[in-house]
Amino acid sequence: MIASLKANTGPAFDRDYVQGQVDYQKGNAALFRYEIKKGVDPDLKEFAERTLPKIEDHLQRALKLAKSDLVSGGTGE
Protein backbone atom coordinates (compact mmCIF):
# COMPACT_ATOMS: atom_id res chain seq x y z
CA MET A 1 0.00 0.00 0.00
CA ILE A 2 2.74 2.43 0.99
CA ALA A 3 4.73 1.30 -2.06
CA SER A 4 1.85 1.94 -4.46
CA LEU A 5 1.21 5.33 -2.87
CA LYS A 6 4.86 6.23 -3.40
CA ALA A 7 4.69 5.08 -7.02
CA ASN A 8 1.43 6.82 -7.96
CA THR A 9 1.06 10.46 -8.91
CA GLY A 10 -1.76 12.90 -9.67
CA PRO A 11 -5.38 11.68 -9.75
CA ALA A 12 -4.30 8.04 -9.54
CA PHE A 13 -2.58 8.78 -6.23
CA ASP A 14 -5.65 10.55 -4.86
CA ARG A 15 -7.95 7.66 -5.80
CA ASP A 16 -5.55 5.10 -4.37
CA TYR A 17 -5.20 6.95 -1.09
CA VAL A 18 -8.90 7.66 -0.68
CA GLN A 19 -9.97 4.11 -1.47
CA GLY A 20 -7.40 2.78 0.99
CA GLN A 21 -8.73 5.17 3.61
CA VAL A 22 -12.36 4.16 3.06
CA ASP A 23 -11.42 0.48 3.45
CA TYR A 24 -9.25 1.19 6.48
CA GLN A 25 -11.84 3.28 8.30
CA LYS A 26 -14.63 0.78 7.54
CA GLY A 27 -12.53 -2.09 8.89
CA ASN A 28 -11.55 -0.10 11.94
CA ALA A 29 -15.16 0.90 12.67
CA ALA A 30 -16.23 -2.75 12.39
CA LEU A 31 -13.48 -3.80 14.81
CA PHE A 32 -14.49 -1.20 17.38
CA ARG A 33 -18.22 -1.93 17.01
CA TYR A 34 -17.51 -5.61 17.57
CA GLU A 35 -15.57 -4.85 20.73
CA ILE A 36 -18.44 -2.69 22.01
CA LYS A 37 -20.91 -5.49 21.29
CA LYS A 38 -18.92 -8.59 22.21
CA GLY A 39 -16.01 -7.41 24.33
CA VAL A 40 -15.79 -8.27 28.02
CA ASP A 41 -13.16 -5.98 29.51
CA PRO A 42 -14.92 -2.78 30.70
CA ASP A 43 -11.87 -0.59 30.09
CA LEU A 44 -11.53 -1.79 26.52
CA LYS A 45 -15.24 -1.43 25.85
CA GLU A 46 -15.23 2.06 27.27
CA PHE A 47 -12.24 2.94 25.12
CA ALA A 48 -13.97 1.51 22.06
CA GLU A 49 -17.17 3.44 22.77
CA ARG A 50 -15.26 6.64 23.29
CA THR A 51 -13.19 6.21 20.15
CA LEU A 52 -15.77 4.89 17.68
CA PRO A 53 -17.31 8.34 16.97
CA LYS A 54 -13.88 9.61 15.91
CA ILE A 55 -13.41 6.66 13.57
CA GLU A 56 -16.88 7.18 12.14
CA ASP A 57 -16.10 10.85 11.63
CA HIS A 58 -12.92 9.87 9.76
CA LEU A 59 -14.89 7.34 7.72
CA GLN A 60 -17.48 9.97 6.75
CA ARG A 61 -14.72 12.32 5.69
CA ALA A 62 -13.10 9.60 3.60
CA LEU A 63 -16.44 8.64 2.00
CA LYS A 64 -17.17 12.28 1.16
CA LEU A 65 -13.77 12.61 -0.48
CA ALA A 66 -14.28 9.37 -2.38
CA LYS A 67 -17.55 10.71 -3.80
CA SER A 68 -16.21 14.10 -4.72
CA ASP A 69 -15.53 14.73 -8.41
CA LEU A 70 -12.11 16.10 -7.68
CA VAL A 71 -10.94 12.75 -6.44
CA SER A 72 -13.08 10.13 -8.12
CA GLY A 73 -13.76 11.77 -11.48
CA GLY A 74 -11.11 14.30 -12.30
CA THR A 75 -9.29 13.73 -15.53
CA GLY A 76 -10.87 10.33 -16.14
CA GLU A 77 -9.07 7.18 -17.10
Binding site: Y17, L31, Y34, G39
Partner: protein
Protein backbone atom coordinates in the same frame (compact mmCIF):
# COMPACT_ATOMS: atom_id res chain seq x y z
CA UNK B 1 -19.40 -45.62 -1.41
CA UNK B 2 -16.71 -43.00 -1.60
CA UNK B 3 -14.63 -42.72 1.49
CA UNK B 4 -12.46 -39.72 2.04
CA UNK B 5 -9.78 -40.53 4.54
CA UNK B 6 -9.79 -37.05 5.97
CA UNK B 7 -13.51 -36.51 5.79
CA UNK B 8 -13.12 -33.32 3.77
CA UNK B 9 -16.35 -31.82 2.61
CA UNK B 10 -16.54 -31.44 -1.13
CA UNK B 11 -17.12 -27.82 -2.06
CA UNK B 12 -19.36 -28.77 -4.98
CA UNK B 13 -23.04 -28.45 -4.27
CA UNK B 14 -25.74 -30.43 -2.61
CA UNK B 15 -25.20 -33.92 -4.01
CA UNK B 16 -21.55 -33.97 -3.14
CA UNK B 17 -22.25 -32.48 0.24
CA UNK B 18 -24.79 -35.19 0.96
CA UNK B 19 -22.51 -37.93 -0.36
CA UNK B 20 -19.76 -36.84 1.99
CA UNK B 21 -22.05 -37.40 4.93
CA UNK B 22 -21.01 -41.01 5.05
CA UNK B 23 -17.23 -40.57 5.02
CA UNK B 24 -17.31 -37.84 7.62
CA UNK B 25 -19.53 -39.95 9.80
CA UNK B 26 -16.95 -42.70 9.54
CA UNK B 27 -14.28 -40.25 10.49
CA UNK B 28 -16.36 -39.25 13.47
CA UNK B 29 -16.54 -42.91 14.41
CA UNK B 30 -12.75 -43.12 14.10
CA UNK B 31 -12.46 -40.20 16.45
CA UNK B 32 -14.46 -42.11 19.03
CA UNK B 33 -12.46 -45.27 18.38
CA UNK B 34 -9.47 -43.37 19.63
CA UNK B 35 -11.21 -43.07 22.95
CA UNK B 36 -12.10 -46.76 22.97
CA UNK B 37 -8.50 -47.66 22.16
CA UNK B 38 -7.41 -45.51 25.01
CA UNK B 39 -9.53 -47.64 27.30
CA UNK B 40 -7.90 -50.82 25.99
CA UNK B 41 -4.35 -49.59 26.46
CA UNK B 42 -4.82 -47.49 29.53
CA UNK B 43 -3.49 -50.29 31.73
CA UNK B 44 -0.04 -49.66 30.33
CA UNK B 45 2.01 -46.63 31.24
CA UNK B 46 3.13 -46.43 27.60
CA UNK B 47 -0.37 -45.74 26.34
CA UNK B 48 -1.03 -43.29 29.14
CA UNK B 49 1.97 -41.25 28.17
CA UNK B 50 1.33 -41.33 24.43
CA UNK B 51 -2.39 -40.84 24.04
CA UNK B 52 -4.91 -38.29 25.17
CA UNK B 53 -8.64 -38.29 25.71
CA UNK B 54 -10.93 -36.47 23.31
CA UNK B 55 -14.34 -35.50 24.61
CA UNK B 56 -16.66 -35.03 21.68
CA UNK B 57 -20.33 -34.53 20.87
CA UNK B 58 -22.29 -37.74 20.50
CA UNK B 59 -24.90 -38.19 17.80
CA UNK B 60 -27.57 -37.42 20.39
CA UNK B 61 -25.75 -34.27 21.49
CA UNK B 62 -25.32 -33.17 17.91
CA UNK B 63 -29.02 -33.67 17.21
CA UNK B 64 -29.92 -31.62 20.28
CA UNK B 65 -27.73 -28.79 19.01
CA UNK B 66 -29.26 -29.05 15.54
CA UNK B 67 -32.81 -29.05 16.90
CA UNK B 68 -32.09 -25.97 19.01
CA UNK B 69 -30.67 -24.25 15.96
CA UNK B 70 -33.69 -25.11 13.84
CA UNK B 71 -36.06 -23.90 16.55
CA UNK B 72 -34.23 -20.59 16.84
CA UNK B 73 -34.12 -20.20 13.05
CA UNK B 74 -37.87 -20.73 12.84
CA UNK B 75 -38.41 -18.25 15.65
CA UNK B 76 -36.41 -15.65 13.72
CA UNK B 77 -38.06 -16.60 10.40
CA UNK B 78 -34.56 -17.19 9.12
CA UNK B 79 -34.33 -20.38 7.03
CA UNK B 80 -30.77 -21.60 7.28
CA UNK B 81 -28.35 -24.40 6.53
CA UNK B 82 -27.35 -25.97 9.84
CA UNK B 83 -24.30 -28.12 10.50
CA UNK B 84 -22.93 -29.72 13.65
CA UNK B 85 -19.41 -31.16 13.77
CA UNK B 86 -17.54 -33.10 16.44
CA UNK B 87 -14.38 -32.18 18.32
CA UNK B 88 -12.35 -33.38 15.32
CA UNK B 89 -14.28 -30.92 13.11
CA UNK B 90 -16.00 -33.71 11.22
CA UNK B 91 -19.65 -33.45 10.26
CA UNK B 92 -22.15 -35.34 12.44
CA UNK B 93 -25.53 -33.91 11.37
CA UNK B 94 -26.67 -31.44 8.77
CA UNK B 95 -29.99 -29.89 7.86
CA UNK B 96 -31.03 -27.71 4.99
CA UNK B 97 -34.20 -25.82 5.85
CA UNK B 98 -36.69 -24.92 3.14
CA UNK B 99 -35.80 -21.80 1.21
CA UNK B 100 -32.04 -21.63 1.77
CA UNK B 101 -29.44 -20.81 -0.84
CA UNK B 102 -27.37 -23.78 -2.08
CA UNK B 103 -24.07 -22.09 -1.18
CA UNK B 104 -25.18 -22.18 2.44
CA UNK B 105 -24.54 -25.90 2.55
CA UNK B 106 -20.82 -25.43 2.11
CA UNK B 107 -20.70 -22.33 4.26
CA UNK B 108 -22.58 -23.83 7.22
CA UNK B 109 -20.30 -26.86 7.32
CA UNK B 110 -17.22 -24.71 6.75
CA UNK B 111 -18.14 -22.34 9.57
CA UNK B 112 -18.70 -25.23 11.98
CA UNK B 113 -15.41 -26.84 11.00
CA UNK B 114 -13.50 -23.59 11.43
CA UNK B 115 -15.07 -22.95 14.85
CA UNK B 116 -14.03 -26.44 15.95
CA UNK B 117 -10.53 -26.24 14.53
CA UNK B 118 -9.70 -22.65 15.52
CA UNK B 119 -11.40 -23.28 18.89
CA UNK B 120 -13.07 -19.90 18.40
CA UNK B 121 -16.28 -18.42 17.07
CA UNK B 122 -15.86 -17.52 13.42
CA UNK B 123 -17.22 -14.10 14.32
CA UNK B 124 -13.93 -13.45 16.08
CA UNK B 125 -12.05 -14.67 13.01
CA UNK B 126 -14.07 -12.52 10.62
CA UNK B 127 -13.64 -9.47 12.85
CA UNK B 128 -9.90 -10.10 12.84
CA UNK B 129 -9.81 -10.20 9.04
CA UNK B 130 -12.05 -7.15 8.73
CA UNK B 131 -9.76 -5.40 11.16
CA UNK B 132 -6.88 -5.79 8.75
CA UNK B 133 -5.51 -9.28 9.48
CA UNK B 134 -5.58 -10.18 5.79
CA UNK B 135 -3.04 -12.96 6.18
CA UNK B 136 -5.67 -15.01 8.02
CA UNK B 137 -7.38 -15.81 4.72
CA UNK B 138 -4.34 -17.71 3.45
CA UNK B 139 -5.46 -20.67 5.52
CA UNK B 140 -8.38 -21.22 3.17
CA UNK B 141 -10.79 -21.92 6.02
CA UNK B 142 -14.22 -20.31 5.97
CA UNK B 143 -14.02 -17.55 8.56
CA UNK B 144 -17.43 -15.91 8.22
CA UNK B 145 -19.84 -15.11 11.06
CA UNK B 146 -22.03 -18.02 12.17
CA UNK B 147 -19.71 -20.75 13.47
CA UNK B 148 -19.64 -21.28 17.23
CA UNK B 149 -17.74 -23.91 19.24
CA UNK B 150 -19.65 -26.07 21.69
CA UNK B 151 -17.63 -25.99 24.88
CA UNK B 152 -17.79 -27.96 28.06
CA UNK B 153 -15.51 -26.20 30.49
CA UNK B 154 -12.40 -25.33 28.54
CA UNK B 155 -12.80 -28.23 26.09
CA UNK B 156 -14.25 -27.75 22.63
CA UNK B 157 -16.40 -30.84 22.10
CA UNK B 158 -17.81 -29.81 18.73
CA UNK B 159 -19.18 -26.82 16.88
CA UNK B 160 -22.26 -25.57 15.09
CA UNK B 161 -22.31 -23.67 11.80
CA UNK B 162 -25.25 -21.66 10.52
CA UNK B 163 -25.75 -19.98 7.18
CA UNK B 164 -28.90 -18.12 6.20
CA UNK B 165 -29.58 -14.78 4.59
CA UNK B 166 -28.33 -12.58 7.42
CA UNK B 167 -25.09 -13.10 9.29
CA UNK B 168 -26.41 -11.48 12.47
CA UNK B 169 -29.12 -14.13 12.56
CA UNK B 170 -26.49 -16.79 11.82
CA UNK B 171 -24.57 -15.78 14.94
CA UNK B 172 -27.66 -15.65 17.16
CA UNK B 173 -28.86 -19.04 15.99
CA UNK B 174 -25.44 -20.65 16.40
CA UNK B 175 -24.88 -19.18 19.87
CA UNK B 176 -28.29 -20.35 21.02
CA UNK B 177 -27.68 -23.83 19.65
CA UNK B 178 -24.17 -24.14 21.10
CA UNK B 179 -25.49 -23.38 24.57
CA UNK B 180 -28.04 -26.22 24.54
CA UNK B 181 -25.66 -29.04 25.55
CA UNK B 182 -25.82 -29.51 29.34
CA UNK B 183 -22.73 -27.95 30.88
CA UNK B 184 -21.96 -26.15 27.64
CA UNK B 185 -20.78 -22.60 27.74
CA UNK B 186 -20.98 -20.72 24.46
CA UNK B 187 -18.77 -18.02 25.87
CA UNK B 188 -15.02 -18.24 25.20
CA UNK B 189 -13.32 -20.33 27.85
CA UNK B 190 -10.90 -17.63 28.93
CA UNK B 191 -13.79 -15.27 29.65
CA UNK B 192 -15.24 -17.78 32.08
CA UNK B 193 -11.90 -18.77 33.60
CA UNK B 194 -10.77 -17.32 36.91
CA UNK B 195 -8.42 -14.37 36.55
CA UNK B 196 -4.97 -15.67 37.39
CA UNK B 197 -3.03 -13.15 35.34
CA UNK B 198 -3.60 -10.28 32.99
CA UNK B 199 -3.51 -12.32 29.81
CA UNK B 200 -6.23 -14.67 30.95
CA UNK B 201 -8.46 -11.80 31.99
CA UNK B 202 -8.85 -10.78 28.37
CA UNK B 203 -11.43 -12.75 26.43
CA UNK B 204 -10.52 -13.76 22.85
CA UNK B 205 -12.58 -10.84 21.54
CA UNK B 206 -10.79 -8.40 23.82
CA UNK B 207 -7.38 -9.88 23.05
CA UNK B 208 -8.05 -9.65 19.32
CA UNK B 209 -9.24 -6.09 19.71
CA UNK B 210 -6.11 -5.11 21.58
CA UNK B 211 -3.94 -6.83 18.99
CA UNK B 212 -5.69 -5.19 16.04
CA UNK B 213 -6.73 -1.77 17.28
CA UNK B 214 -3.34 -0.15 17.07
CA UNK B 215 -1.87 -1.91 14.04
CA UNK B 216 -3.00 0.74 11.60
CA UNK B 217 -1.62 3.80 13.39
CA UNK B 218 1.93 3.71 11.94
CA UNK B 219 0.46 3.14 8.47
CA UNK B 220 -1.89 6.08 8.90
CA UNK B 221 1.03 8.32 9.79
CA UNK B 222 3.26 7.12 6.94
CA UNK B 223 0.56 7.19 4.28
CA UNK B 224 -0.80 10.50 5.59
CA UNK B 225 2.60 12.15 5.32
CA UNK B 226 2.94 10.99 1.72
CA UNK B 227 -0.56 12.23 0.90
CA UNK B 228 0.06 15.58 2.57
CA UNK B 229 2.75 16.17 -0.04
CA UNK B 230 1.42 14.38 -3.09
CA UNK B 231 -2.38 14.70 -3.07
CA UNK B 232 -3.69 16.88 -5.88
CA UNK B 233 -6.90 17.68 -4.02
CA UNK B 234 -6.56 20.26 -1.22
CA UNK B 235 -9.35 18.65 0.85
CA UNK B 236 -7.51 15.38 0.64
CA UNK B 237 -4.31 17.00 1.87
CA UNK B 238 -6.27 18.36 4.84
CA UNK B 239 -7.67 14.90 5.54
CA UNK B 240 -4.17 13.41 5.34
CA UNK B 241 -2.90 15.97 7.82
CA UNK B 242 -5.73 15.08 10.19
CA UNK B 243 -4.75 11.41 9.95
CA UNK B 244 -1.12 12.20 10.78
CA UNK B 245 -1.84 14.42 13.78
CA UNK B 246 -4.54 12.15 15.21
CA UNK B 247 -2.42 8.99 14.98
CA UNK B 248 0.89 10.30 16.32
CA UNK B 249 -0.45 10.16 19.92
CA UNK B 250 -1.47 6.53 19.30
CA UNK B 251 2.06 5.50 18.43
CA UNK B 252 3.52 7.64 21.22
CA UNK B 253 1.10 6.00 23.64
CA UNK B 254 2.28 2.57 22.55
CA UNK B 255 5.94 3.32 23.03
CA UNK B 256 5.65 5.08 26.35
CA UNK B 257 6.44 3.10 29.45
CA UNK B 258 3.25 1.88 31.07
CA UNK B 259 3.20 0.26 34.46
CA UNK B 260 1.78 -3.25 34.81
CA UNK B 261 2.45 -6.79 33.81
CA UNK B 262 3.57 -7.63 30.36
CA UNK B 263 2.55 -6.82 26.85
CA UNK B 264 -1.23 -6.85 27.21
CA UNK B 265 -1.10 -4.71 30.33
CA UNK B 266 1.04 -2.26 28.39
CA UNK B 267 -1.54 -2.10 25.64
CA UNK B 268 -4.40 -1.85 28.09
CA UNK B 269 -2.87 1.01 30.01
CA UNK B 270 -2.16 2.80 26.79
CA UNK B 271 -5.81 2.51 25.88
CA UNK B 272 -6.46 5.06 28.55
CA UNK B 273 -4.15 7.61 26.95
CA UNK B 274 -5.93 10.41 25.09
CA UNK B 275 -5.69 8.97 21.62
CA UNK B 276 -7.68 9.01 18.41
CA UNK B 277 -7.17 6.16 15.94
Amino acid sequence: MRVSQYGELSPYGREDAMRTLMPVTRRHAACRHLIVLLGVFSTTSLALGQTSKVQTLSLGGARAVLNAAEQKAQQLSAPSSLAVVDACADLIVFEQMEGVRPIGINLAVGKARSAARFREATQTLEASINGGRSAAITDGAIQMDGGVPVRIGSAVVGAVGVNGLNHHNDVEIAETAAAVVPGADARPSSAAAPASNVASVLSPVDANFVAQAFLGAPFQIDSGRIAEEKAANADLRDYAQLMVVSHIPVVDGLTQSCSGNGYLRLRRNCCKAPIAP
